[in-house]
């Protein structure tokens, strides 16, 4: 089936239009980024934005808003959207299941449980220290899911069932702890709703290595996953070590999503839906699919953040919620227009 697709005239045409699409997506991404710096509760003129970059003046409120609030927020939206969408594409290809999302590996459940346990047992309520706790929780639960799911040797079904059961368990454990302790709820509520608010440059800088490492792993994985799409046996006969390739893809997802969840809390929608949108532009090739997923994910997050900041929504609507509200109908429209692309 894959071989047929690559030789059909339709996908040849697609290959040439793919670059144009990528360029369009990139340009709109830049435009959105500029708009996201410009608008908000306090509109700032283009001149001031430019000046804040070339001649930063800490005494001017506009410059402070741009450099201290909007720029970190924009970068966080970029990173979160791109990381979530790319790891969504990875896990959907890894499990060969269009309904898989990165949370399936237990990262979100583990991170939430980690944060809640940290508040509940240690009484810590400083959001800055949650970054590492969330990271650790996500990492630990992913290791658990990966080994219960067969450590790269089992079938995708095994990984899916193990992941779904464990992450549901972690989320339920966290939730029941919250219901028992009002104090934990008060702190946790802000973490989980935090979204992209109040992210500062030092946090971003600390998490940047993880994003970079994850991106590198993902880039390598995209070649492996392309081979694995032909079927496990074919991939093996092509000389690929399937268990290792799976492990590498899981590492990529952990780095990307662990960093995202510890930065912006669990965001459900982007990782699940954006890869489906990306496949309409990229076709089946994982390398293109990852690129498109990353850019579309970043674009969706920035747009959602921008719209969520409108006064209509009280000036502060969660970007994750907004992304679902915008992205859901967009996905339906894409599928109705182009038909669904199989994995």
């Amino acid at each position: 089936m894959t071989i047929l697709e690559t030789t059909s005239p339709r996908s040849e045409r697609r290959a040439s239009t793919r670059q144009i699409w990528l360029l369009t997506v990139l340009l709109s991404l830049l435009l959105l980024s500029a708009l996201s710096l410009r608008f908000g509760l306090r509109p700032i003129s283009w001149d001031n934005i430019w000046e804040s970059f070339v001649a930063y003046d800490a005494t001017r409120a506009d410059h402070l808003v741009i450099q201290g609030m909007r720029l970190p927020r924009l970068l966080a939206a970029w990173l979160a959207g791109a990381a979530l969408a790319a790891s969504g594409a990875l896990i959907q290809s890894l499990t060969r299941n269009p309904l898989a999302d990165p949370g399936l590996l237990g990262i979100n459940g583990g991170a939430s449980l980690g944060v809640i346990l940290c508040i509940f047992l240690l009484g810590i309520s400083d959001p800055a220290s949650f970054v590492w706790v969330a990271m650790g929780g996500g990492l630990a639960s992913t290791v658990l899911v990966f080994f219960l799911g067969g450590a790269g040797r089992g079938t995708p079904l095994r990984l899916i069932l193990a992941g779904a059961a464990l992450s549901a368990l972690f989320l339920a454990l966290g939730r029941s702890l919250l219901l028992i302790s009002q104090r934990s709820l008060d702190v946790y509520r802000f973490w989980v709703l935090g979204g992209l608010d109040g992210i500062e440059m030092p946090t971003l800088a600390a998490l940047l290595p993880f994003f970079a490492l994850g991106a590198a792993f993902a880039a390598v994985s995209s070649f492996n996953l392309n081979a694995m799409m032909l079927g496990e046996d074919t991939a093996r006969s092509l000389g690929l070590r399937v268990g290792l390739a799976r492990g590498l893809a899981v590492c990529a997802i952990v780095c990307l999503c662990g960093a995202t969840v510890s930065m912006a809390g669990p965001i459900a929608f982007v990782g699940l839906i954006v890869p489906h949108m990306a496949r309409h532009f990229s076709g089946a090739d994982m390398r293109w699919c990852l690129l498109f997923s990353a850019f579309l994910g970043a674009g969706l997050m920035i747009l959602a953040d921008l719209i969520g900041r409108l006064p209509v929504f009280g000036g502060n609507m969660q970007a994750g919620v907004m992304a679902a509200l915008l992205g859901g109908p967009a996905l339906v429209w894409l599928i109705r227009r182009n038909g669904s692309t199989a994995l």
Binding site: N97, P98, G154, A165, L173, L179, A324, G328, V332, S340
Partner: protein, 338 residues
């Protein structure tokens, strides 16, 4: 080992394992229900609950048993069975273990309808949830329809609509005052607090009405796990079958969500657990129904047993179902079945 039942119009085969597992599960349901009747903030002794049920006992005892615990338990059983059935049906039809109704958006429609009903009328939650679920279902099916009902399309469109509706619920929740929000939050996790006989009638009469259709559809459903070409060469007409299955599944999910709220994890876990207990390759609808009922009953009883705070049952479904599922998976892994 297996036995077969042969009638002029019907023949069924039972494997020994299925019969054994089935009777154990039914025994568990009975014991569980009796325990759930007896336990609580006003406990009954080994024999007193029976005499109260038969008409003896004081006014208060009768009220506790007949007006509070019994409807609650019956609703839990019915709603759990509906969740289990609809989950197993969708998972088999879509050939995807993740395609339970709570993942592909039908529960989100019901919750959203309930929330809108609370905001607009202050009550009528049941009706709102039912209308919400049915409207969502009609929307999803009509958007996904393209010379038939391709499962992939249905799943993806369901996802998109489901996420948008869940986001809409969040949005509504954030725009209301704190007291209504607390009321509404209950509808986003699922609880069986304060159920009355109206709920019992609704869910059980719905189940009974749908039972013949379920029984009939369970034969072709067992073949839908095969590839499309193979299924149609067996003489099954795929599109009407899929439409019928989707309709049934949605009705069941709507019944469950109306009476118990969108309890997480039940619809997802019941099918795989049932199939792990009776691994014969069939969709195991009956098994999934009983497992679902057991899960919800256990979750609800557990939520009543926690002293001093009323925890919603939705918290406990995954807390109880998760370990069971993980244990079964590990047993299966060790046997090398997965």
């Amino acid at each position: 080992m297996s036995w077969s039942l042969r009638l002029p119009f019907l023949s069924l085969s039972f494997s020994a394992r299925a019969v054994a597992v089935g009777s154990c599960l039914l025994l568990l349901v009975t014991v569980g229900s009796v325990l759930a009747l007896r336990l609580g903030s006003y406990p009954f002794t080994e024999t007193s609950w029976l005499s109260v049920l038969l008409g003896a006992g004081s006014e208060i005892e009768r009220m506790i048993l007949m007006d509070h615990r019994l409807p609650r338990i019956l609703t839990a059983l019915g709603a759990g069975a509906c969740f289990g059935l609809s989950g197993a049906m969708f998972q088999t039809m879509m050939r995807n273990p993740l395609a339970s109704p709570d993942v592909i958006g039908f529960n989100a429609g019901a919750s959203c309808g309930a929330l809108i009903a609370i905001i607009l009328t202050g009550g009528n939650v049941l009706l709102g949830a039912l209308i919400g679920a049915l409207l969502t279902a009609i929307l999803v099916v009509s958007l996904a329809w393209k010379e038939g009902l391709p499962p992939q399309r249905l799943v993806l469109i369901g996802l998109g609509i489901g996420f948008a509706l869940a986001a809409l619920s969040d949005l509504l929740l954030s725009r209301t005052d704190a007291r209504t929000a607390a009321d509404m939050a209950e509808w986003l996790i699922g609880t069986l607090n304060a159920r009355d006989w109206q709920d019992v009638w609704l869910v059980w009469s719905g189940l009974l009405l749908l039972a013949p259709a379920l029984f009939w559809i369970h034969f072709p459903l067992a073949r839908l796990g095969l590839s499309d070409d193979l299924t149609s060469s067996l003489g099954l007409r795929l599109s009407p079958l899929r439409l019928g299955l989707t309709g049934l599944g949605i009705l069941l999910a709507a019944l469950a969500v109306c009476t118990a709220g969108p309890l997480p994890f039940v619809a997802f876990a019941a099918g795989p657990i049932a199939r792990a207990l009776v691994p014969n390759g069939k969709p195991a609808l009956l098994g999934a129904a009983v497992i679902g009922a057991l899960l919800v009953l256990a979750a609800d009883t557990a939520s009543r047993m926690v002293p001093s705070i009323q925890l919603p049952a939705g918290v406990f479904t995954a807390l109880i179902g998760g370990p069971v599922m993980i244990w079964l998976l590990m047993v299966q892994f060790r046997k090398g079945k997965l």
